[in-house]
């Protein structure tokens, strides 16, 4: 069942390229229809999900048994919310209207290809399979930014590709290190490595492996100072691609931190939990400060991602501290996982909204706008809701996540939690300023014909925001699923 969710979009991507040229609407409807298939399958998987320790719905086939590579997929309480998020964000992004530059088939094919790769990554339970999807996602995103982006799209896409390729190759070195050090029966099997913990805990090898993989994921996440590819990629990408980049692709890094580093080499991560936590806090504060300094709306949102990913990694690093209490660690890790989902929904919606703004106003400069609330109540309302969720207002998804992360951190690294809280204060200030600049105040004369969100835009954004509210008010259904995985990881 999980394999179908991966394969259907990949095959549909190829099929789309063979469709007639001049039917953009047909391509779009087909792509949207196809994207509903994984969504339905994942919802069905959620219903069937047991929530016990270990992986469920595992499918395994030999691929290259000579070197121990297999096609193996499955899910647990960590991957399930992320694949659900992925499936939802892709459906929303595909239906969101964009300027197709006369290449509709290729655009939707690229999206479906990327969807297959992204789902595959979160479901993969073989390190090489994981890596394959990791790299395929780079190729898909490169073309999305380069062909349908704006501004200096080609350069931004290249920067994105090269930076994250360095990260991915560093990850590959780490994976090879795991393989070569995984005992006599060398293996890439993630379940095997997680269950049997074959990696050495002393000596140089685990340290090198840890940092090779950590570097790969720090670039992908991205944490400061490896984030420099992110703002340009985000700003020049088309809005739906930004949504996928922030909502799905960044999670690949944070997911990798948990799945590979935390689960496969907990003791080594434990030794480095403090430095990783410090890097995370630097990202939190730095990301927030730089976001505050932006005059470009999309760049502002992009930098808040650096800040939010900092929260996630802070939570993961706290969970990795073996000496700390199980309760605090489990709390922090659950918070981190929920933050991944919350950030995907909130920032994903926010990037789509910046796309709506760009489509109407042709610029991201906030000083050009003002008073849009008068003409576009839906756009304004959606953006304000997303902004409040992003700054962590109680009752919305971001709060649930950040509360748990900071509550967990407070028990382990109180001074880091204190410093990190600064990030929340700064984001609150910067989002309020953004809302005030763009949506409040007098409406400039030239925007008097400004139109509100259209039907398709609402169809894409509203479900995401509904989920933000639902998770904020009644998070138990999500927290329970996530807890089933985090309890196992933190030994609780």
């Amino acid at each position: 069942m999980l394999s179908v969710a991966i394969i259907v979009p990949l095959l549909a991507a190829i099929a789309l390229l063979a469709m007639p040229r001049d039917r953009p609407e047909l391509a779009r409807r087909t792509a949207f229809g196809v994207s509903l298939v994984p969504l339905a399958l994942i919802v069905a998987a959620w219903v069937r999900f047991q929530g016990g320790p270990g992986f469920e719905m595992v499918e395994s086939h030999a691929w290259i048994p000579s070197i121990g590579v297999s096609y193996q997929v499955g899910l647990d309480g960590l991957s399930l919310p992320l694949v659900a998020l992925t499936a939802l964000l892709f459906s929303a992004s595909i239906i969101f209207p964009v300027d197709l530059r006369g290449r509709a088939r290729q655009y939707y094919a690229a999206f479906l290809f990327l969807e297959g790769a992204s789902l595959g990554l979160f479901l993969a339970l073989d390190l090489i399979l994981f890596f394959v999807f990791f790299d395929l996602s780079l190729v898909g995103m490169y073309f999305l930014i380069a062909i349908w982006g704006h501004g200096n799209a080609h350069r931004s896409a290249l920067k994105f590709f090269v930076y994250t390729l360095v990260g991915s190759l560093s990850l590959l070195l780490g994976i090879l290190g795991i393989y070569l050090n995984s005992g006599d029966q060398r293996t890439f099997d993630m379940i095997d490595i997680i269950t049997n913990q074959p990696l050495p805990t002393t000596g140089l090898a685990p340290v090198l492996i840890f940092w090779a993989i950590a570097l790969g994921f720090m670039i992908k996440t991205p944490l400061a100072p490896f984030h420099t590819w992110l703002p340009s990629a985000h700003v020049d990408a088309p809005a739906p691609a930004s949504t996928i980049l922030a909502g799905v692709l960044l999670k690949m890094g944070t997911y990798g931190f948990v799945r590979i580093l935390l689960q496969m080499m907990p003791e080594t991560f434990g030794r480095f939990s403090l430095p990783i936590a410090i890097i995370a806090v630097i990202s939190i504060v730095y990301g927030a400060l730089v976001a505050m300094a932006q005059t470009n709306l999309k760049r502002l949102v992009a930098y808040t991602s650096v800040n939010h990913m900092g929260y996630v990694i802070l939570g993961v690093a706290v969970a990795a501290n073996i000496g700390a209490s199980e309760g605090a660690r489990s709390l922090a890790l659950t918070g981190a996982t929920i933050e991944m989902v919350a950030h995907g929904l909130i920032t994903g919606a926010m990037f789509l909204l910046t796309g709506s703004v760009l489509a109407r106003g042709k610029t991201f400069e906030m000083d050009e706008y003002g008073g849009l609330a008068a003409r576009a109540p839906a756009l304004t309302g959606a953006m304000i809701l997303a902004a409040f969720a992003s700054l962590g207002l109680p009752g919305l998804a971001g709060f649930v996540a950040e509360f748990q992360i900071f509550a967990g951190t407070l028990g382990v690294y109180p001074w880091l939690a204190g410093t990190g809280l600064l990030g929340i204060v700064i984001t609150a200030a910067l989002f309020l300023r953004m809302v005030q600049k763009v949506f409040l105040g007098p409406l400039p004369e030239r925007w008097s014909e400004w139109t509100d969100l259209g039907g398709w835009e609402l169809a894409a954004i509203v479900p995401m925001l509904i989920l933000v509210v639902v998770i904020g008010i009644a998070p138990a259904w999500l927290v329970n699923v996530v807890d089933s995985a985090t309890r196992v990881m933190t030994g609780g």
């Binding site: 691929w63 070197i67 090489i128 790299d135 190729v139 290249l158 090269v162 560093s170 090879l176």
Partner: protein, 471 residues
């Protein structure tokens, strides 16, 4: 005696076949010349079939201990014959109006034979013979367009550097013969145990220069970009590949007969690998001429190939990675260079602008080839890099794997300098293309690049017990 002939049947077929092609070419009237490609094809197909049939035979030395009929050698032979076939298919339309094209196919078969002998050589005299055969055929191929200045210049540069390198190699061979009292590896290896270390270093260094030249390894690489740019494009395709296959396999054999402790060849080969891959990639960054860019990329690839040699004897992944690299490199190069051939030698980077819409299949082949070179999964180049990096890490050369990673990222930049405009630029319409047969060649190579990565298992299983004999 029957077994003896059976052992070297592919070599015999190529040797006799090249003379057959030569004779046919001499006596065929000008307008009938294109048919000679068919004769060459028949010879190469026969050689490929017998190389394939031989693969399951037990390994052993043959032909007076001067040739190794072992797994690696036979796989290399099969691959070389297939590359020869693909190059013939690329060449037919390119040379259609050339009334002495028969000789071209003679040289292709000779060149294939030279590389096959090189890959199997376990005798220093055999090395010299194979190297000269392969080089002379190569000089002719590079300069085949006599009236083209670029082609003549490419041939001349190739020849001058080759004469120098091969000369050095012959001195080295003489020195090793003098030190050990024999020319077969079986004699040289044991004979060198008590040799003067300095003379040994000099002897092996000189021989290595010859081998490095054939592979396009720094510092004897400068012919590679010149030949890539100036030689007839199908001939350039051939020269980028076959010498590298033959010489890399030979180098793997050669280092294994060295006393490891005395010389420490491993760090030396690692250094050559590091310098070659880095130099090739850095210079390729600045190329606006696609064929030169491919030439420099071929230099960097030679550096990756050397990684397999570094891991020999220390990692079980060394031989599989060597073969996987050769297969992925050969098909990737045919695919990418084939696109240049198909576009009638189109070489200015800017001329590729927007070609993805009028030529989606052709640019798709180039995309697959380039991404494979970078090492993007699940293509053949990824399988090769995975094994190569695994092998060197296993052998204790993790720094080389890190360098290969950095280099892969650099290489992405210049490949995208070609692919970017091709996919992102505004289309300026169709370009004249070569023809159907070269298209088939590109298609076969591209599919092979994908299959080698996705379905690597049969190959890896076949290579599990593969052997490399050293006398």
């Amino acid at each position: 005696m029957v077994g003896f002939v059976g052992d070297i049947l592919p070599e015999l077929i190529l040797a006799a076949g090249s003379i057959l092609v030569l004779l046919v070419a001499l006596f065929t009237p000008r307008r009938m010349q294109p048919w000679i490609a068919l004769v060459a094809t028949a010879v190469l197909v026969a050689a490929a079939i017998f190389a394939g049939l031989d693969i399951i035979d037990p390994p052993g030395l043959t032909f007076f201990d001067s040739l190794a009929a072992d797994g690696v050698g036979r796989w290399a032979t099969l691959l070389l014959a297939v590359v020869g076939l693909l190059v013939v298919a690329l060449s037919v339309e390119w040379f259609r109006s050339d009334d002495r094209q028969g000789e071209y196919y003679v040289m292709v078969v000779f060149g294939t034979l030279g590389a096959v002998l090189l890959a199997g050589a376990t005798d220093l005299m055999e090395l010299v013979l194979a190297m000269i055969l392969s080089s002379v055929a190569g000089y002719t191929l590079a300069a085949f367009h006599r009236r083209s200045r670029a082609s003549a210049e490419a041939g001349m540069k190739y020849f001058l550097l080759g004469a120098l390198a091969n000369g050095a190699m012959v001195y080295g061979v003489a020195l090793l013969f003098g030190l050990s009292g024999g020319t077969t590896f079986a004699d040289v290896g044991p004979g060198l145990v008590n040799a003067d270390p300095l003379a040994l270093v000099v002897g092996f260094g000189l021989v290595t220069i010859g081998v490095a030249f054939k592979m396009g390894v720094a510092p004897v690489h400068p012919w590679v970009p010149d030949v890539a740019e100036g030689a007839p494009a199908p001939a350039a395709t051939f020269l980028m590949i076959v010498g590298k296959i033959g010489a890399l396999v030979f180098l793997a054999r050669l280092v294994l007969i060295l006393p490891d402790t005395q010389l420490g060849w491993r760090p030396l080969v690692a250094l050559l690998a590091a310098v070659t891959m880095t130099l090739g990639n850095l210079v390729a960054l600045r190329q606006d001429d696609v064929r030169r860019l491919l030439g420099w990329s071929a230099v960097s690839q030679a550096g990756y190939g050397l990684m397999a040699v570094v891991a020999l004897g220390r990692s079980g992944l060394a031989l599989p990675s060597l073969l996987m690299f050769l297969v992925a490199y050969a098909f990737g190069t045919v695919a990418v260079f084939g696109v240049v051939v198909q576009l009638r030698g189109l070489t200015d980077r800017h001329s590729y602008r927007g070609l993805s819409s009028p030529h989606p299949w052709l640019m798709g082949a180039m995309l697959v080839g380039f991404l494979s070179f970078v090492g993007i999964p699940p293509l053949g180049g990824f399988a090769a890099k995975l094994l190569l990096m695994g092998a060197v890490i296993d052998a204790g050369y993790a720094w080389l794997a890190v360098l290969a990673v950095v280099n892969s990222a650099i290489s992405l930049v210049y490949y995208l300098r070609v692919l970017g405009p091709a996919y992102l630029g505004e289309s300026t319409g169709k370009r004249p293309t070569m023809g159907r047969l070269s298209g088939v060649s590109i298609g076969v190579a591209t599919v092979a690049v994908i299959l080698v990565g996705v379905a690597a298992q049969p190959l890896l299983r076949a290579w599990e017990a593969v052997q490399l004999l050293t006398g």
